[in-house]
């Protein structure tokens, strides 16, 4: 019975009001409340509809290319000399990251709701590209909000979105990064709520988004669990994933939450270092508060103003985090740790050199921590790292840091 209680603790969230313990909820202006209710009602209906699940599974198999492999990085593991490291290859998905898993799901919801237009916020541009991709396929009008600073950092993805027929709208308010893009997307949604579906890219935002994005991303963990059993005959000892908003991490972790033997590490971006205040590690250094429709850990100052963040990876450069991670932190089920810019860069180079796999800078944070973790474990133990995206988009950033002009 003890395990039943535990099971309920982890899997019975969110509650009917969208709360994960004290976190989550619906903190939005009244104008959006009806749209959120409508979305929740439809989602609960479709989630229980085998026809919808079939439609989703078909797309995941034939459009995204799932299941993604669980690849054992033998040379890298040997070089470290500790646990066996397996990479969940979300970088091999169509569009090059885990983001498409969620976009397909939400775009199908938009189609069922009869919405003609989708909007999205994006940081690194991966979610923007995934949204633009699915909008192209379904013939939906698509506008993507992106902070002006990120537009410069991720020029390649900006051009990809334009090629896909989406309009990229630069956001010049606030810190000109992901959080401001999300503000602007919310403002657009409140204005065009009748005909527009807002495809949120991470497990944040008002209920039901943290729940439905999680559900769509759980395909990662379900596959990884089955693949572990099939390929090694056992469950991994540890899971590692990077955490910005936290969608790839929750997708990997959630299907393992009831497996008590599996340790979990969510890796936040320590930027220039935790002591510098130039980082993006709200779970590690922040306090609870309310932003973007939910209560969660935030990087905020003494007056409750949201602080500017820094990470080398645009996708982790966010002052909040999904409310379910806040809850899992408080419960102690997941350990939240950090990797800084330099460690991530080094991991980027190592994996590229040793395995011939170029990881996204976001995923490189998970790799950097996995390297440390593996070194302290035995060769009989096993780690699964979520390789959430591929690194092509970051080549300019890396080259610039290495002093190479391309």
């Amino acid at each position: 019975m003890a395990s039943d209680t535990q099971e309920n603790l982890f899997t019975a969230v969110p509650d009917a009001q969208g709360h994960f313990g004290p976190y989550g909820g619906k903190f939005v202006a009244e104008t959006l409340m009806a749209a959120l209710s409508e979305l929740e009602t439809l989602y609960r209906k479709l989630a229980a509809d085998p026809g919808f699940q079939r439609e989703l599974d078909m797309d995941l198999a034939h459009y995204v290319g799932r299941p993604s492999p669980l690849y054992e990085a033998v040379r890298w593991s040997d070089e470290i000399g500790g646990a066996r490291i397996f990479l969940k290859r979300e970088d091999l998905n169509h569009t090059g990251a885990h983001k498409i898993n969620n976009c397909i799901g939400q775009a199908l919801l938009a189609k069922h709701m009869g919405k003609k237009r989708v909007i999205a916020e994006t940081g690194a541009g991966q979610h923007g590209v995934a949204t633009a991709t699915i909008a192209a396929r379904l013939g939906l009008e698509c506008q993507v909000f992106m902070g002006e600073d990120d537009i410069h950092r991720q020029a390649l993805n900006v051009y990809r979105m334009k090629l896909l027929g989406a309009q990229v709208i630069p956001v010049t308010s606030g810190s000109r990064t992901l959080k401001d893009a999300m503000n602007e997307a919310m403002r657009d949604w409140v204005t065009n709520v009748d005909d527009t579906f807002y495809i949120i890219g991470t497990v944040a935002g008002p209920h039901p988004y943290p729940m439905l994005v999680r559900d769509f991303q759980c395909v990662i963990g379900r596959e990884a669990r089955a693949q572990s059993l099939q390929q090694t005959g056992r469950l991994p000892d540890a899971l590692v994933a990077c955490v910005g908003g936290g969608s790839n991490a929750i997708g990997l972790f959630h299907p393992f939450l009831d497996d008590e033997s599996v340790a979990m590490y969510g890796v936040e971006a320590a930027g220039h270092g935790l002591s510098t205040n130039q980082h993006a590690a709200p779970l590690t250094t922040g306090t609870p508060g309310v932003l973007h429709g939910n209560r969660t850990y935030l990087m905020q100052d003494a007056d409750g103003q949201i602080m500017h963040t820094h990470s080398i990876s645009a996708g982790l450069d966010y002052p909040g985090v999904g409310p379910e991670h806040a809850w899992l932190k408080d419960l102690g089920r997941v350990s939240y740790v950090v990797a800084d810019d330099d460690e991530a860069l080094q991991a980027f180079h190592t994996l590229t050199r040793v395995e011939g796999i170029m990881p996204a800078l976001e995923s490189s944070h998970a790799l950097a921590y996995a390297e440390k973790l593996a070194a302290g474990m035995t060769a009989q133990q096993m780690i699964v790292v979520n390789l959430s995206g591929r690194g092509d988009k970051d080549i300019h950033t890396v080259a610039q840091i290495d002093g190479i002009g391309i």
């Binding site: 619906k26 939005v28 202006a29 308010s173 204005t191 065009n192 306090t287 973007h292 409750g304 103003q305």
Partner: protein, 272 residues
């Protein structure tokens, strides 16, 4: 009777509509806010809505977003805002003051600590844009404890049965958001506003004030014909920003805001 209820009752007896200007505390400068509040009263304000600046004002259009950014750059915090109201009260004990802002600065101070400090500063009410009735209980309890009104929003998208639930918790007045969008946007559909005000009034005895999209004397007049109060925000904030952009100082900004408000007051009163 709360100061807000008293003010609405007094206006109703005179057959007048409440004029509610919105300003952001600390914009254009921390030292001008109290003076501006007094000037707005002199120009015909019945209730003053003071915006508490926030780094991520999700419901605001570009004009008020910039005002929040300026106010924060001037060092304005929730504590400053409360101190400003306290200063205003030294020479005006009659005009109700409503704070409008976002959940996080209030939550960060702590709802109980905020309620105590706000009551101490003699603030009359709080409106938090991003706390709907579903999440309001914690703050509601504290406001009630110190006798402050909690102002709720009703939107054009609010279903009928939900209106009843919202106004059941409200006190002071009900704030009807006149359009789908952010502050300062779009054009008003007066007939739609009238329909919603009527719907709200079916469910409660409270006065209904209307905001979002009221730009000038003409739009204020058409809304005043169907509502108990008219909120003017972006137009006022913009008048100050433009005065400063064209080389004026804080005095010039204050004069511009006062002139605009006086004009709107005249527009409203001409419906009578």
């Amino acid at each position: 009777m709360s100061r807000i209820a008293g003010r609405f009752a007094q206006l109703a007896a005179q057959g007048r509509t409440a004029l509610i200007p919105y300003i952001v505390a600390g914009d254009p400068g921390l030292d001008v806010t109290v003076k501006l509040m007094h000037a707005l009263v002199d120009s015909g304000a019945d209730i003053i809505e003071v915006g508490v600046p926030f780094s991520d004002p999700m419901a605001e259009g570009p004009v008020i977003q910039l005002a929040h950014e300026r106010a924060l750059a001037n060092g304005t915090s929730l504590r400053n805002v409360l101190a400003l109201v306290q200063e205003f009260r030294q020479s005006d004990k009659d005009t109700p003051v409503l704070l409008m802002g976002y959940a996080n600065p209030v939550e960060h101070m702590g709802y109980a600590a905020f309620a105590d400090a706000a009551a101490q500063a003699d603030v009359d009410a709080l409106l938090t844009v991003d706390i709907p009735p579903e999440e309001v209980e914690d703050v509601h309890v504290q406001l009630r404890r110190v006798g402050m009104d909690n102002i709720f929003l009703v939107a054009p998208t609010t279903p009928d049965e939900r209106v009843a639930r919202i106004v059941g918790q409200a006190s002071g007045f009900v704030y009807y958001v006149a359009l789908k969008g952010v502050t300062g946007a779009g054009n008003l559909d007066t007939e739609d506003v009238a329909r919603h005000v009527e719907l709200i009034k079916k469910h409660c005895e409270l006065p209904v004030a209307v905001g979002f999209g009221i730009k000038d004397a003409a739009s204020a007049r058409s809304v005043a014909a169907v509502a108990d109060g008219v909120v003017v925000g972006s137009a006022l904030v913009n008048s100050m920003a433009r005065a400063i952009e064209s080389g004026g100082d804080h005095e010039a900004a204050l004069a511009a805001a006062s002139a605009l408000l006086a004009e709107i007051r005249q527009g409203i009163d001409s419906t009578a």
